[in-house]
């Protein structure tokens, strides 16, 4: 928040700004005091905004050429790839863009977990972020159905069938979702409609996410409250904009590497076989970014139990700010939690790996161990470690990393407020 009111210099600017203070908003965004010690893990917010815009722009162009009909969808995608000017480029950016979007969002989420960005006073930012993540998964899943290949069809069949596990009304709900008695043309049509809608809902939530962020301001690697503006902060522009631009460009090089040199490596070859309700693929696997949840789903022998556990794996994150009892935000000063954080990262990677494997033998055992650990981490480790852990001394401010005597952040905060 800027300390003083902004007044436009020109008369016209003042006239407009009195009626709609867009210029005040612009000035706020430019001046927004940002901790100067943010590391590169903090650049993924900007990268994610870029990903969303890229998906929307390429998606709008693709929708001009795509036909959402069970008999024509596959052929229309080939039409885009072969006959539309740079259609191959637009489609490969869109399909790889989804993967890059998830890569960035996972880094963003784990950054938040490491530095305690979900903790007070940023709980609402965290919850809006999780809602965005949920919508992203829905959009990505429906988007994967649109080319109407074998994995599209069978992925849609597996995921929509999950709802049939709901007692009593499950089958009715599934039929209602399909608009038919199996995944069919009506399903494809509504998925296309929703796939076009969801990104704009995400865009709205992104605005709220940033708004909510601008109330308390950014967390930072040290995790302490800072006075804003002060010598601990820099104005968002040009300092953060140029740094975000640099990180975004590095990200774009990796993105371009996928698009131009190995555009199909993240997809499944079966999706270049047109959908066939009579032939089931040997292994039905979702896209890589949903694999950890797929592993959790399949680790339970009971269908309903699996569905409940899978959704719990996401919804438990919503109460994370209240499960974490530690008074210290950043894992930099939490020697015990820091170890558990890395175990969680490995656990999620392992779940992703076994999610791609057949649910049998050693993979099933690993999926179960991984699932149990995942929940233990949030339900047991976070509250207990928060109470018992002796945290390292916390600096009083970013500029003067003088160590305060104890591990009591509120003291540091009080001292800091006086600076």
């Amino acid at each position: 928040m800027s300390e003083h009111e902004y007044t436009p210099k020109s008369k016209a600017g003042k006239w407009f700004n009195d009626r709609l203070p867009l210029l005040t908003l612009g000035a706020h965004l430019t001046d927004y005091p940002t901790p100067k010690n943010l590391n590169y893990w903090w650049t993924f917010g900007g990268i994610l905004t870029f990903c969303l815009i890229t998906q929307i722009v390429t998606g709008i162009v693709l929708a001009m050429h795509y036909v959402a009909h069970a008999d024509l969808a596959f052929a229309s995608v080939e039409h885009i790839m072969r006959d539309v000017n740079y259609g191959w480029l637009i489609r490969y950016i869109h399909s790889n863009g989804a993967s890059m979007f998830f890569l960035a969002v996972y880094i963003h989420i784990f950054r938040s977990l490491f530095y305690g960005s979900y903790k007070s006073p940023r709980e609402v930012i965290w919850i809006i972020g999780l809602m965005i993540y949920l919508l992203m998964m829905a959009a990505a899943f429906m988007g994967y159905v649109l080319p109407w290949g074998q994995m599209s069809f069978w992925g849609a069949t597996v995921i929509t069938n999950l709802f049939s596990a709901i007692p009593l009304v499950g089958d009715s709900i599934t039929t209602w979702l399909w608009g038919a008695y199996s995944v069919d043309n009506p399903t494809l049509n509504r998925f296309f409609s929703l796939h076009y809608l969801i990104p704009f809902l995400i865009l709205g939530l992104v605005v709220l996410h940033i708004w909510a962020l601008h109330i308390p301001g950014n967390n930072n690697p040290v995790g302490i409250d800072i006075k804003k503006p002060s010598k601990d902060t820099v104005p968002f522009h040009p300092y953060i904009t140029i740094k975000d631009a640099f990180a975004l460009l590095v990200f774009m090089i990796i993105f371009a590497g996928f698009v131009f040199f190995t555009p199909n490596v993240l997809g499944h070859s079966d999706n270049y076989i047109p959908a066939n309700p009579l032939v089931t693929p040997a292994h039905i696997v979702p896209e890589w970014y949903l694999l950890p949840f797929y592993a959790i789903l399949r680790s339970v022998p009971d269908k309903l139990g699996g569905v409940i556990l899978m959704f719990s794996a996401i919804f438990i994150l919503f109460v994370l700010p209240w499960l974490d009892t530690s008074k210290v935000r950043s894992a930099v000063f939490r020697p015990i939690y820091r170890q558990f954080f890395w175990i969680l990262v490995i656990d999620v990677l392992m779940l992703g790996y076994v999610g791609a494997m057949p649910a049998e033998g050693v993979y099933l055992v690993l999926a179960r161990v991984g699932t149990i650990y995942y929940f233990l981490h949030f339900i047991v480790v976070m509250p207990v470690v928060g109470y018992l852990e002796k945290t390292d001394p916390i600096p009083m401010s970013i500029s003067e990393p003088v160590l305060s005597g104890g591990a009591e952040p509120s003291i540091a905060r009080k001292v800091n407020d006086k600076v």
Binding site: K36, N37, A75, E78, H79, M81, R82, W88, L89, Y92, V234, P238, Y239, I242, K243, A245, F246, L249, V250, M252, I253, A256, G257, V259, F260, F261, P263, N264, S269, D270, Y272, I273, P274, A282, I336, Q339, F340, W342, I343, I346, D347, L349, M350, Y353, M357, V362, Y363, L366, S399
Partner: protein
Amino acid sequence: MIKSNIKLFVLSFLLIITLRPLQSAEMVDPIKVDWSFKGLIGTFDRASLQRGFQVYKEVCASCHSMQYLSYRNLGEPGGPEFTDQEVKAIASSFEIEDGPDAQGEMFTRPGRPSDKFKNPYPNVQAATAANGGAYPPDMSVLVKARKGGANYIYSVLVGYEDPPPGVTLDDGVYYNKYMAGNKIKMPNNLMDGLVEYADGTESTVDQMAKDVTTFLAWAAEPELEERHKTGVKVIIYLVLLTILVYLSMKKIWSRVDSEV
């Protein structure tokens, strides 16, 4: 203790990854061929594409459709690059059904470059019935639709063998080393000297398999050469821009006492 736990996790994780190939030993890994279109700046071998088209036309096309390609594609840059006359001649060698005319009748006419490749069968059911219950898949994107891609297609084409002792095959089923389950309904159609190459290349089974696979790889990814060329330019541009932005960033941040 926790650190050793992490090590244990990582070790077991690596162990599973390395054990993975041992578990799925049913299928033989496809032969690795050093294709000219592999790698970051790979391009298609023009002569091989033209020969491959000949093999496709004379052998594969009697059963396999290629419905997403048009005859004009054969003359486009990055493909076999037949001349305009050659493309017209190829297209007009096919009788294409058109219509209805003013009387409401369907009629046939010689093909035009803008026509899609003619299907050998009127529909999937006819194709399935004519091939012993196994539909010969459309070959437009076949290379992208198979794990292993071009290597796999080539391997299947040269992978026919007599079945090992103890394996009995039904009528119309053939043994193939590289096919999933080792059973394939497509007979071994390639034999030495089957086609007479216009450029005088000796038409061995291996040569024909390589040529037709190259052709199929192009058919699946006709944009490959343009994609590779554009990609190199894009990456160079992005790297230069990244360097400029990095230097700007360093300069801007030199005003504050903070690392960036």
